[in-house]
């Protein structure tokens, strides 16, 4: 194999750490099941963003073509093949919806029509199942190379609809009084950002010169997109000044959570953008690896800032352990997928 995509050196320690993390989660499940489920939700929303973002990028590339896509294919394709496993990672949540979602435990917090027609457990599970199944079908088609242009176009339209539903379900419905129309777009762009950052971090040296700069340009665009939409939704709500919406931001601006956001913006957006302004950084593989690690850390902090303040610091601890578990297992599977796919390519 000429390209070193994943580093097998990491595999064993990561898997061992993941096993310990699962043991810790099992112990935690006995002690404080609520925090464990809440932490799992945070880790799931972050980790799922990489495979889903990779799938969307590959669907876009199927329609547009271009050098950028061929340069990162060696990472995005195995990452996309992780999408079906997301359904397994989602299962614990399906059995414990009442831990993170107050409406699932007590429907009287909602207006009766909303609870009856939209935000109830069967409907929530149906929407998540449709999304995860649809993404899995698209992912398998993309990985097997059977995705036609028509399928890619329809798949993107499907994604636009389901991401709008599940982003609100998974994250915003924790506080059912809050709504923000641009929220799903923030999540969708952030998924693209995570996938690009992951590809920049794990990717091999590209054969074509200039492909690294393309990747850096895409990362700049998605960072700006995420920050812009996040800031715009805040400004609209700030001008509107309605109690329920202000309460959501106020809960995230006190009790130390404001520092979480400050860290997320500094590590995930300000620092990477300032570094990427340098042409030498945009053209250097190693510098881009550093920038992408910062971005992934920032994205995790942002996801934690969106979700954890509704739960408290116990969820943050559980989220960190669940992150180790999911990333360890995920990288192990990713590694296998890389060698499986390149083995298939050799066989041809």
């Amino acid at each position: 194999m000429s390209e070193h995509v994943a580093r097998p050196v990491w595999r064993r320690p990561m898997l061992i750490a993941a096993v310990y993390a699962f043991v810790a989660l099992a112990v935690g499940l006995a002690a404080s099941p609520k925090s464990v489920m809440q932490g799992w939700l945070i880790a799931f929303v972050f980790v799922s963003s990489i495979p889903i973002g990779s799938l969307v990028l590959l669907l876009i590339h199927r329609l547009t073509g271009g050098r950028w896509g061929t340069a990162v294919e060696s990472i995005l394709v195995p990452a996309t093949s992780m999408v079906p496993f997301l359904a397994i990672a989602f299962l614990p949540l399906a059995f414990g919806l009442s831990a993170p979602y107050r409406w699932a435990a007590d429907a009287s917090t909602l207006r009766p029509e909303v609870a009856h027609l939209y935000l109830n457990q069967p409907a929530f599970l149906l929407r998540s199942t449709v999304a995860l199944t649809g993404w899995s079908v698209l992912a398998i088609a993309v990985v097997k190379g059977r995705c036609t242009e028509l399928m890619a176009g329809l798949g993107l339209a499907f994604h636009a609809i389901v991401i709008s539903l599940v982003a609100v379900d998974w994250v915003l419905s924790i506080d059912s009084k809050f709504s923000s129309s641009a929220f799903a777009a923030v999540i969708a762009i952030q998924q693209l950002l995570s996938a690009l950052a992951f590809a920049a971090m794990a990717g091999p040296e590209p054969r074509q010169s200039g492909a690294i700069a393309d990747l850096a340009g895409l990362i700049i665009a998605t960072v700006l997109g995420t920050v812009y939409l996040g800031l715009m939704s805040f400004i609209v709500i700030w001008y509107g000044n309605l109690p329920d919406k202000a309460a959501w931001y106020l809960a995230r601006a006190h009790g130390g959570w404001q520092w979480l956001l400050a860290a997320a913006v500094t590590i995930g957006a300000l620092l990477p953008l300032c570094l990427l302004l340098n042409q030498s950084v945009r053209q250097s593989r190693r510098a881009l690896r550093l920038v992408s690690s910062l971005i992934l850390l920032g994205v995790f902090l942002h996801v934690a800032w969106l979700i954890a303040p509704a739960f408290g610091s116990g969820a943050m601890v559980a989220a960190l352990i669940a992150m180790v578990a999911l990333i360890g297992i995920g990288l192990g599977l990713f590694d296998r997928a890389v060698s499986g796919l390149s083995g298939g390519a050799h066989a041809k």
Partner: protein, 174 residues
């Protein structure tokens, strides 16, 4: 002061060969005129690193600062209006306009710096008067090299160009 020499070549290879040879012998290459871009020339002509980026950065930051100041002055000093108890200097809202006009100003100052660096618009250049020069945009490759003051060295430059495969060597403008 003697005029620079314009050497005419039949193809890109002989122009590149001559340019490399001239450089090795210590002559000063001024410019090359070719029907299409030759990336290899960038290394040989050793253009100075462009300062366009700096002017873009300065232009963008200056415009962003100006846009922020304008918003701050108009809403905090010139026409202070209490809207629902919001602070007069509402910095989170004021960040968007500086970002957007800052980007626009960076692009515009980059374009202006590009024109300035290339000395454009330039309606006439002495090299245009050289015979056959119009073929630089068709099928011939031209190299512009300067003679250093001493007589024997300038003679050697002309000789060197002829030896490197030039079809003709003329003084600029003749």
């Amino acid at each position: 002061m003697t005029k620079p020499l314009v050497a005419e070549f039949r193809d890109a290879e002989s122009l590149l060969g001559a340019a490399v040879r001239l450089k090795r012998e210590g002559h000063q290459l001024l410019d090359a005129f070719t029907p299409f871009r030759l990336p290899e020339l960038d290394g040989i002509l050793a253009a100075k690193p462009s300062r366009i980026r700096h002017s873009m950065l300065v232009g963008g930051l200056a415009m962003a600062a100006f846009a922020y100041l304008l918003q701050w002055y108009s809403s905090a000093i010139d026409y202070a209006l209490n809207t629902g108890g919001r602070p007069l200097n509402s910095w989170p809202v004021f960040l968007l306009v500086p970002f957007e006009v800052g980007m626009l100003a960076a692009a515009l100052s980059g374009f202006a710096a590009f024109l300035w660096n290339c000395r454009l618009p330039c309606l006439h250049h002495p090299a245009f008067d050289t015979a056959q020069f119009e073929r630089a945009s068709q099928d011939r490759f031209f190299l512009l090299a300067v003679q250093t003051g001493e007589e024997e060295r300038s003679a050697s430059l002309r000789e060197l160009l002829m030896h490197s495969g030039a079809l003709a060597v003329r003084e600029q403008g003749s």
